[in-house]
Amino acid sequence: MRSDDLVFKALGDSSRRFLLDLLHKRDGQTLGELEWELEMTRFGVMKHLKVLEEAGLVITRREGREKLHFLNAVPIRLIHDRWIDKFKERELSALVDLKKSLENAKCPPQRKRA
Protein backbone atom coordinates (compact mmCIF):
# COMPACT_ATOMS: atom_id res chain seq x y z
CA MET A 1 0.00 0.00 0.00
CA ARG A 2 1.25 3.50 -0.72
CA SER A 3 2.15 5.71 2.21
CA ASP A 4 -0.76 8.11 1.54
CA ASP A 5 -3.17 5.18 1.57
CA LEU A 6 -1.79 4.01 4.90
CA VAL A 7 -2.25 7.44 6.44
CA PHE A 8 -5.82 7.84 5.15
CA LYS A 9 -6.67 4.35 6.33
CA ALA A 10 -5.17 5.03 9.75
CA LEU A 11 -7.12 8.27 10.09
CA GLY A 12 -10.37 6.64 8.99
CA ASP A 13 -11.23 5.37 12.45
CA SER A 14 -12.41 7.36 15.45
CA SER A 15 -10.50 5.28 18.03
CA ARG A 16 -7.26 5.84 16.14
CA ARG A 17 -7.91 9.56 15.83
CA PHE A 18 -8.60 9.61 19.56
CA LEU A 19 -5.25 7.90 20.21
CA LEU A 20 -3.52 10.61 18.17
CA ASP A 21 -5.36 13.27 20.20
CA LEU A 22 -4.13 11.63 23.39
CA LEU A 23 -0.53 11.69 22.18
CA HIS A 24 -0.95 15.26 20.99
CA LYS A 25 -1.97 16.15 24.52
CA ARG A 26 0.97 14.28 26.00
CA ASP A 27 3.70 12.67 23.93
CA GLY A 28 5.58 9.53 24.87
CA GLN A 29 2.87 7.47 26.56
CA THR A 30 2.96 3.76 27.32
CA LEU A 31 0.39 1.23 26.13
CA GLY A 32 -0.93 1.03 29.68
CA GLU A 33 -1.53 4.78 29.85
CA LEU A 34 -3.27 4.88 26.47
CA GLU A 35 -5.35 1.81 27.24
CA TRP A 36 -6.68 3.51 30.36
CA GLU A 37 -8.37 6.18 28.22
CA LEU A 38 -10.17 3.84 25.82
CA GLU A 39 -13.03 1.50 26.46
CA MET A 40 -11.35 -1.30 24.65
CA THR A 41 -9.28 -4.38 25.35
CA ARG A 42 -5.51 -4.10 25.50
CA PHE A 43 -5.35 -6.18 22.34
CA GLY A 44 -7.69 -3.76 20.54
CA VAL A 45 -5.57 -0.77 21.48
CA MET A 46 -2.43 -2.62 20.35
CA LYS A 47 -4.03 -3.32 16.99
CA HIS A 48 -4.92 0.33 16.48
CA LEU A 49 -1.44 1.46 17.51
CA LYS A 50 0.05 -0.95 15.00
CA VAL A 51 -1.98 0.59 12.16
CA LEU A 52 -0.89 4.06 13.28
CA GLU A 53 2.72 2.89 13.45
CA GLU A 54 2.60 1.42 9.95
CA ALA A 55 1.35 4.75 8.65
CA GLY A 56 4.23 6.54 10.36
CA LEU A 57 1.83 8.51 12.55
CA VAL A 58 3.12 6.90 15.72
CA ILE A 59 6.76 6.19 16.48
CA THR A 60 7.80 3.95 19.34
CA ARG A 61 10.91 4.07 21.47
CA ARG A 62 12.03 1.66 24.12
CA GLU A 63 13.02 3.18 27.38
CA GLY A 64 14.09 0.53 29.85
CA ARG A 65 11.23 -1.94 30.07
CA GLU A 66 8.70 0.52 28.72
CA LYS A 67 7.68 1.09 25.12
CA LEU A 68 6.77 4.74 24.62
CA HIS A 69 4.52 6.02 21.84
CA PHE A 70 5.17 9.34 20.13
CA LEU A 71 2.98 11.27 17.72
CA ASN A 72 4.57 12.01 14.35
CA ALA A 73 2.34 14.51 12.57
CA VAL A 74 4.65 14.91 9.56
CA PRO A 75 2.62 12.53 7.33
CA ILE A 76 -0.51 14.60 8.05
CA ARG A 77 1.41 17.73 7.12
CA LEU A 78 2.42 16.08 3.83
CA ILE A 79 -1.19 15.24 3.05
CA HIS A 80 -2.09 18.81 3.89
CA ASP A 81 0.56 20.11 1.48
CA ARG A 82 -0.39 17.63 -1.21
CA TRP A 83 -4.18 17.99 -1.02
CA ILE A 84 -5.19 21.14 0.80
CA ASP A 85 -2.69 23.54 -0.74
CA LYS A 86 -3.47 22.18 -4.14
CA PHE A 87 -7.18 22.78 -3.84
CA LYS A 88 -6.88 26.37 -2.79
CA GLU A 89 -6.78 26.57 0.93
CA ARG A 90 -8.08 30.11 0.97
CA GLU A 91 -11.44 29.29 -0.53
CA LEU A 92 -11.75 26.18 1.59
CA SER A 93 -11.07 28.08 4.78
CA ALA A 94 -13.74 30.62 3.77
CA LEU A 95 -16.20 27.74 3.51
CA VAL A 96 -15.09 26.30 6.83
CA ASP A 97 -15.61 29.72 8.39
CA LEU A 98 -19.08 29.91 6.84
CA LYS A 99 -19.98 26.48 8.20
CA LYS A 100 -18.72 27.43 11.65
CA SER A 101 -20.63 30.70 11.71
CA LEU A 102 -23.83 29.05 10.52
CA GLU A 103 -23.54 26.30 13.09
CA ASN A 104 -22.72 28.71 15.85
CA ALA A 105 -24.62 31.90 15.12
CA LYS A 106 -22.92 33.70 17.97
CA CYS A 107 -19.61 33.80 16.12
CA PRO A 108 -19.19 36.14 13.18
CA PRO A 109 -17.21 34.66 10.30
CA GLN A 110 -13.48 34.95 10.80
CA ARG A 111 -11.20 35.23 7.84
CA LYS A 112 -7.78 34.12 9.00
CA ARG A 113 -6.10 34.70 5.71
CA ALA A 114 -6.28 37.91 3.78
Partner: protein, 170 residues
Protein backbone atom coordinates in the same frame (compact mmCIF):
# COMPACT_ATOMS: atom_id res chain seq x y z
CA UNK B 1 29.24 33.31 24.35
CA UNK B 2 28.48 31.01 27.24
CA UNK B 3 29.41 27.39 26.65
CA UNK B 4 26.55 25.25 25.46
CA UNK B 5 27.69 22.33 27.57
CA UNK B 6 25.81 23.77 30.50
CA UNK B 7 22.44 22.52 29.39
CA UNK B 8 19.62 23.67 31.54
CA UNK B 9 17.82 20.36 31.27
CA UNK B 10 18.05 19.67 34.95
CA UNK B 11 14.42 18.82 35.57
CA UNK B 12 11.87 16.84 33.60
CA UNK B 13 11.80 17.11 29.84
CA UNK B 14 9.48 16.06 27.04
CA UNK B 15 10.66 14.31 23.90
CA UNK B 16 9.14 15.04 20.50
CA UNK B 17 9.94 12.74 17.61
CA UNK B 18 9.40 13.62 13.96
CA UNK B 19 10.08 11.30 11.09
CA UNK B 20 10.00 11.76 7.35
CA UNK B 21 11.05 9.77 4.29
CA UNK B 22 12.94 11.77 1.69
CA UNK B 23 14.01 10.55 -1.73
CA UNK B 24 17.60 11.76 -1.58
CA UNK B 25 21.11 10.54 -0.76
CA UNK B 26 22.19 10.72 2.90
CA UNK B 27 24.89 13.23 1.92
CA UNK B 28 22.35 15.56 0.30
CA UNK B 29 20.16 15.48 3.41
CA UNK B 30 23.20 16.05 5.62
CA UNK B 31 24.20 19.10 3.58
CA UNK B 32 20.66 20.46 3.71
CA UNK B 33 20.74 20.23 7.51
CA UNK B 34 24.21 21.58 8.14
CA UNK B 35 25.08 24.10 5.42
CA UNK B 36 23.86 27.73 5.52
CA UNK B 37 23.28 27.93 1.76
CA UNK B 38 20.81 25.05 2.21
CA UNK B 39 19.13 26.01 5.48
CA UNK B 40 18.43 29.43 3.94
CA UNK B 41 16.15 27.70 1.43
CA UNK B 42 13.54 25.92 3.59
CA UNK B 43 11.72 26.25 6.90
CA UNK B 44 12.43 29.52 8.66
CA UNK B 45 15.36 30.15 6.30
CA UNK B 46 17.99 31.05 8.84
CA UNK B 47 21.61 30.32 8.00
CA UNK B 48 22.92 27.45 10.12
CA UNK B 49 26.63 26.98 10.64
CA UNK B 50 28.16 24.00 12.36
CA UNK B 51 31.62 23.10 13.56
CA UNK B 52 31.06 19.43 12.92
CA UNK B 53 32.94 17.88 15.84
CA UNK B 54 32.13 17.17 19.48
CA UNK B 55 32.24 20.46 21.32
CA UNK B 56 31.94 22.43 18.06
CA UNK B 57 29.88 25.58 17.82
CA UNK B 58 26.43 25.82 16.25
CA UNK B 59 24.88 29.12 15.24
CA UNK B 60 21.93 30.04 13.11
CA UNK B 61 22.15 33.53 11.67
CA UNK B 62 19.10 35.65 10.96
CA UNK B 63 18.25 36.36 7.32
CA UNK B 64 17.34 39.84 6.10
CA UNK B 65 13.64 39.33 6.80
CA UNK B 66 14.29 38.21 10.38
CA UNK B 67 16.56 41.22 10.93
CA UNK B 68 13.78 43.48 9.68
CA UNK B 69 11.59 42.06 12.48
CA UNK B 70 14.23 43.22 14.94
CA UNK B 71 15.68 39.79 15.69
CA UNK B 72 19.37 39.59 16.69
CA UNK B 73 22.11 38.62 14.25
CA UNK B 74 22.36 35.14 15.73
CA UNK B 75 18.88 33.73 16.35
CA UNK B 76 19.75 30.24 17.56
CA UNK B 77 22.88 28.83 19.15
CA UNK B 78 24.10 25.58 20.63
CA UNK B 79 26.89 23.06 20.69
CA UNK B 80 27.63 19.95 18.69
CA UNK B 81 27.66 16.91 20.95
CA UNK B 82 28.21 14.23 18.32
CA UNK B 83 28.79 14.48 14.57
CA UNK B 84 28.91 11.39 12.40
CA UNK B 85 28.37 12.65 8.83
CA UNK B 86 26.12 11.98 7.04
CA UNK B 87 24.18 9.81 9.48
CA UNK B 88 23.98 11.30 12.93
CA UNK B 89 24.20 14.71 14.53
CA UNK B 90 23.48 15.47 18.17
CA UNK B 91 23.40 19.07 19.30
CA UNK B 92 22.03 21.51 21.83
CA UNK B 93 19.71 24.23 20.59
CA UNK B 94 18.58 27.50 22.14
CA UNK B 95 16.57 30.44 20.76
CA UNK B 96 18.13 33.87 21.20
CA UNK B 97 15.16 35.94 20.03
CA UNK B 98 15.00 37.83 23.31
CA UNK B 99 16.07 37.49 26.92
CA UNK B 100 13.14 35.29 27.89
CA UNK B 101 14.11 32.77 25.22
CA UNK B 102 17.76 32.84 26.30
CA UNK B 103 16.66 32.15 29.87
CA UNK B 104 14.83 29.00 28.80
CA UNK B 105 18.22 27.48 28.08
CA UNK B 106 19.21 24.67 25.77
CA UNK B 107 17.11 21.91 24.33
CA UNK B 108 18.67 18.91 22.63
CA UNK B 109 18.18 17.71 19.06
CA UNK B 110 19.27 14.39 17.55
CA UNK B 111 19.21 14.14 13.76
CA UNK B 112 19.41 10.63 12.28
CA UNK B 113 19.58 9.75 8.59
CA UNK B 114 19.01 6.09 7.72
CA UNK B 115 19.00 4.91 4.08
CA UNK B 116 15.97 2.72 3.30
CA UNK B 117 14.83 0.92 0.18
CA UNK B 118 13.92 2.64 -3.08
CA UNK B 119 16.42 5.48 -2.80
CA UNK B 120 14.68 6.93 0.25
CA UNK B 121 16.23 7.97 3.53
CA UNK B 122 14.43 8.13 6.82
CA UNK B 123 15.19 11.35 8.64
CA UNK B 124 14.32 11.28 12.33
CA UNK B 125 14.45 14.42 14.43
CA UNK B 126 14.26 13.88 18.18
CA UNK B 127 13.84 17.07 20.16
CA UNK B 128 14.12 16.94 23.94
CA UNK B 129 12.75 20.06 25.57
CA UNK B 130 12.71 20.85 29.27
CA UNK B 131 9.16 21.11 30.54
CA UNK B 132 9.95 24.60 31.81
CA UNK B 133 10.88 25.83 28.29
CA UNK B 134 7.34 26.65 27.25
CA UNK B 135 8.26 29.04 24.43
CA UNK B 136 10.56 26.54 22.73
CA UNK B 137 7.88 23.89 23.10
CA UNK B 138 5.24 26.19 21.64
CA UNK B 139 7.42 27.15 18.69
CA UNK B 140 8.34 23.67 17.53
CA UNK B 141 4.87 22.18 17.89
CA UNK B 142 3.00 25.11 16.36
CA UNK B 143 0.87 24.88 13.26
CA UNK B 144 1.68 26.82 10.16
CA UNK B 145 0.38 30.36 10.09
CA UNK B 146 1.18 33.34 7.96
CA UNK B 147 2.69 35.27 10.87
CA UNK B 148 5.52 32.81 11.38
CA UNK B 149 5.50 29.47 13.08
CA UNK B 150 4.96 26.09 11.60
CA UNK B 151 7.10 23.86 13.75
CA UNK B 152 8.92 20.71 12.77
CA UNK B 153 6.04 19.31 10.69
CA UNK B 154 6.24 22.27 8.39
CA UNK B 155 10.06 22.53 8.33
CA UNK B 156 10.51 18.86 7.43
CA UNK B 157 7.78 18.96 4.83
CA UNK B 158 9.45 21.98 3.24
CA UNK B 159 12.85 20.25 3.36
CA UNK B 160 11.39 17.21 1.58
CA UNK B 161 9.93 19.42 -1.15
CA UNK B 162 13.23 21.19 -1.63
CA UNK B 163 15.32 18.02 -1.86
CA UNK B 164 12.89 16.10 -4.06
CA UNK B 165 11.77 18.83 -6.43
CA UNK B 166 14.45 21.51 -6.12
CA UNK B 167 11.76 23.89 -4.96
CA UNK B 168 10.53 24.69 -1.48
CA UNK B 169 6.83 25.12 -0.79
CA UNK B 170 6.57 28.79 0.01
Amino acid sequence: MSPATQTSMTSASTTHIHEIYIKAEPGAIWDALTKPEWTARYGYRGMSEYELKAGGKFTCKANAQMRSYGLPEVVVDGEVIEANPPFKLVQTYRFLFNEAHVKEGFSRITWEVVPTEGGFCRLTVTHEIADTASMMKGAVTSKFSTDGGGGWNWILSDLKSLLETGKSMS
